[in-house]
Symmetry: none
Subunit: 271 residues, 2 copies
DNA sequence: GTTTTTATGATTGACTCCAATCATATAAAG
DNA sequence: CTTTATATGATTGGAGTCAATCATAAAAAC
């Protein structure tokens, strides 16, 4: 293997063009994706650079969150390796985390829960992975969530059947509705795109159909929405505030009231 | 959090019961699955043991390939955590590729195909991704395959419903059998663990149940097996050679005959 | 109850990794 | 072409890691 840069003058300190630097760094990221972990010395070999340069490259890539630095080497960062895990790159991650933690407190051991698609629900899955609750049966139509929770000991994870849709991460359609009928949930945790004084909004009619079907099959239905979704109105109304569901949000009750959202007593759970 | 072992007598060398050792090691493996990477010192903290013991535990787990040791710590071994990667580490990849290419030639545009779980079928999915066939409807119970084919334009990819099993890569169980009944396939492509003069073998009874159900719902059923599977006999017989199915293999007809496998005319498709 | 086994923590010396600093040669800017 | 900026490799002291060894106390075996 011949190095595209450094054909001559090995072992001497020379500045190289930025494009070579960029190419090398992207090759470095790629190498780590492939090997998942590589010690620093091997990286130096493979890239044909000194330790110092390799370290500097790693520092840059780590700052960009493209890799994860470890003592003595580096590894590919989780969300980069798996397309599905890009859901981690969320807006308002701290709000979603708070909501997820609040939801975590709601869930009792040995219960059966449905988890909808979406970044907020993915955050919940992440919390459920890191702080497992005994004996849960978890049902989802989200592939990333299923993959995240599948390996956790003590969980029984089920996927609904159906067609892959919307960036290949969720299952929808008639088959999904059919398999839904085989279930009865203690809790259903749903996401949405917006909330206004009128109610909760989503933009895809088939998502609405699906979510309404989930509502019907759960003892308690919880919509998880961060404050950023306030005042967002999309094409279709999922439910109005008179419907029987809980809202879990980081928006304060005062803020909700200010926006004209009239909720029932106990309907809002603050995160 | 209080440690179940080491309630008293901290900091002194004491032998503990084997069950505590095992419990600690499995907790260690679990911790690494959750955090993906942890430095040794943190592991010592979390487990409440000395460096020496943590090192020893890691050495054992690494030997069992349950974790991967790194300098200064350890990380979860990929194939343990994530299904799709295991499928990439295949034995006899060139044989599987040849089989996949042969299968590719069989598939007609606008047909409906079922793809089973396994490395050979994963290789087929890879070929179908790189050389798309128009208007296919693809049904699978494999998460890695669904993820691979989902993004391909022009494919309608469906997942069966069911529980995640066998290290989180496939769906099985009653729900899977139920959703199967909603389908009728032009082709079904199945994997297996072995073939002998008696027939095709697999080791999991519920996989067999599932595969037999697939057989019933397809016009043509094809078992894809590379030559390495010859003479491998596991616990349960899937089908004998009198059954109505095609075998797609890189093993030559002469080799099959030599092993006493008596096939019907046109039953074997050579890759 | 006695003996054997072994899981553990402490210690140690060799080895490795790291951040900082410096000189240098080249790319980039003027 | 000249000047500036910077990407690189070498060096170094300090910190961290590792494998091996040893004493010990509790578990296992008898």
């Amino acid at each position: 293997m011949i190095d595209s840069n450094h054909i001559i003058a090995e072992g001497d300190a020379m500045k190289v063009a930025v494009k070579y630097v960029q190419a090398r760094r992207s090759r470095l990221a790629q190498l780590l994706q492939q090997h998942r972990f590589l010690p620093l010395t091997e990286l130096c070999d493979k890239l044909g650079v000194s330790e110092a340069t390799a370290r500097r490259d790693l520092a840059v890539l780590a700052q960009e969150h493209k890799i994860t630095r470890t003592y003595g080497g580096a590894m590919s960062s989780f969300d980069q390796t798996f397309s599905s895990f890009r859901e981690r790159q969320v807006r308002a991650p701290e709000a979603k985390k708070r909501i997820a933690l609040a939801v975590h407190d709601l869930i009792k051991p040995n219960s059966t829960c449905f988890l909808d698609v979406g970044t907020t629900l993915f955050a919940l899955a992440d919390v459920l992975r890191q702080k497992p609750i005994r004996g849960l049966t978890l049902v989802t139509n989200s592939l990333p969530i299923a993959e995240m929770l599948g390996p956790v000991r003590g969980y029984a994870v089920h996927l609904l059947g159906g067609q892959l849709f919307y960036r290949q991460s969720l299952l929808l359609g008639g088959v999904a509705l059919q398999t839904l009928k085989l279930w009865k949930f203690d809790h259903a945790f749903l996401g949405a795109e917006g909330m206004t004084a009128e109610g909760i909004w989503n933009s895809q009619p088939d998502v609405i159909d699906f979510q309404l079907a989930v509502f019907k099959r759960s003892t308690q239905s919880c919509v998880c929405l961060d404050a950023q979704k306030l005042d967002t109105q999309t094409d279709y109304l999922l439910v109005d505030w008179k419907a029987n569901f809980s809202l879990i949000t980081d928006a304060t009750p005062a803020l909700l009231e200010k926006r004209g959202i009239q909720t029932k007593k106990g309907q809002v759970i603050s995160a």
